[in-house]
Symmetry: C2
């Protein structure tokens, strides 16, 4: 039985957060939307400890948001894909992305969401700004702009955090999270 | 300096989550949308430890999402209100609510969002299903349906969690969260 994060709250938002509100979970879903499917690719792109990624994926599977599919025998290898329930998280991700574009990052947006049909961008109601269509997750694509973290930040505290992408520090941080799953 | 939750991620979604992804933060914003403004009202409705509520509110103020306003002298009393940046979180909340209505709760929805103008409900793009208007946060109202947690659940583990709404247990849980802010 999973612990209830918000036992006093009978509310659909709280209920959603109980499922997808754990640290890293939304970013795992994001990466699945971006087309990553394999554990090692997810792990590399996220820079998250393997045990955390594993436990988050298991929870997503348990909730029917992600399914695990074998794509190879001997050795057995699996990939992870979003179910319909997972794809329906798209509006949440888009609204987080758009708020972040506006308020949480400086400089150019790292990713732009486009309508596949005509290449138009999406407005805040996920309608194509070029052709006016209501765009669904499957009709949209994420285009990387090539923007990187602004230099001011890169020279500061972020620089020191860079080795995290290598090896030891991430694993070293794992027991903390494992001991106190927020 | 705030610690970076996702140091390897240059992404607007991750940047949003660094600001609003902490446990309780979204529910505090929800309660401000629902019209709660005072610390004690928020604390009572959320059933969250006072020190956690305090630290979350401080962070929201620091990020310009919430402002604190004095409404009384001697003794000085304050209330909390969303700024424009805070009100712009509305699409995130609505998408969490709608996904939760669909997938995360059973039975009747506890809250329905209506267009103030005509009483129509909102679709998944926050358009009025009755009159077709694009509805903004200020043009919408939340209507409680009176639905409560289904009895099956209430008889189970939730029942044991009920005393949380009273006094001691919440405060007792505080040091855990304080020691390990996820």
């Amino acid at each position: 039985m999973l612990k209830r994060d918000y036992p006093t709250q009978y509310c659909s938002m709280a209920a959603s957060l109980e499922i997808i509100g754990e640290r890293w979970t939304i970013l795992i879903v994001r990466d699945l939307f971006l087309g990553l499917r394999r554990f090692d690719d997810l792990q590399r792109n996220l820079g998250v400890a393997r045990n955390i990624l594993q436990s988050r994926l298991e929870r997503l599977i348990e909730h029917g948001i992600v399914r695990k599919e074998q794509y190879q025998d001997r050795p057995a290898r699996y990939e992870y894909r979003l179910t319909e329930k997972g794809i329906d998280l798209w509006p949440i991700l888009i609204s987080l992305l758009q708020w972040g574009d506006h308020y949480a990052i400086e400089g150019e947006r790292p990713i732009v969401i486009e309508h596949k049909g005509c290449g138009g961008e999406l407005d805040d109601r996920r309608r194509c700004l070029r052709c006016g269509a209501d765009v669904s997750a499957r009709e949209a694509r994420a285009v990387r702009t090539g923007a990187t973290r602004p230099a001011v930040e890169a020279a500061g505290p972020v620089q020191t955090a860079a080795p995290v992408e290598a090896a030891a520090p991430v694993e070293a941080a794992a027991p903390v999270e494992a001991a106190a799953p927020a």
